[in-house]
């Protein structure tokens, strides 16, 4: 059972996640890794911004921008 944030994060490594930034843009992908700064690496990251969506390979998101899974 996941309780605190660090347990939660270790439990969801490898699963499909959505990361929403403070500016409202979302990135979806497979969570490869995440650190204590909430820096996130996504595999097959796609940008979800209204109509347009761009696809990337691996995506690094600096932690201070992230809002949620």
């Amino acid at each position: 059972m996941s309780t605190d944030p660090s347990h939660f994060l270790s439990n969801i490594i490898g699963s499909s996640v959505t990361v929403k930034l403070h500016n409202g843009v979302k990135y979806a992908g497979v969570l490869q890794s995440i650190d204590g700064f909430m820096n996130v690496v996504l595999q097959n990251g796609t940008e979800v911004a209204g109509e347009s969506s761009r696809t990337y390979g691996d995506v690094f998101i600096r932690g201070n921008n992230g809002m949620y899974e």
């Binding site: 605190d4 944030p5 939660f8």
Partner: protein, 90 residues
């Protein structure tokens, strides 16, 4: 050994009556809470856990912004504590 002089009734009462902010949050685990963010955003969901930065794991979350509440609740999310302004236990 030096003796500490205390005012009457001030001995252990402080520890018993002072409520730490994180205690309030800890008591809310398993309950539904409202989280108000800086900026016009709000989250309502069941608190699963939190850490010292007040990052929170929430379940069955409704995100409320200027456009109103989101239609589909988010099953599980990790909320970055950096922009949390207020937590309201329901």
């Amino acid at each position: 050994m030096s003796e500490v002089i205390e005012a009457p009734g001030a001995s252990n009462d402080v520890a018993e009556t002072t409520i730490l902010p994180l205690e309030i949050i800890d008591k809310s685990i398993g309950q539904y809470i409202h989280v108000l963010m800086t900026g016009n955003k709000e989250f309502k969901g069941k608190l699963v856990g939190f850490d010292d930065f007040v990052n929170m794991v929430l379940e069955d979350v409704t995100e409320i912004d200027n456009d109103g509440p989101s239609s589909t609740p988010i099953k599980q999310l990790l909320l970055n504590g950096a922009h949390v302004a207020m937590i309201i236990p329901s």
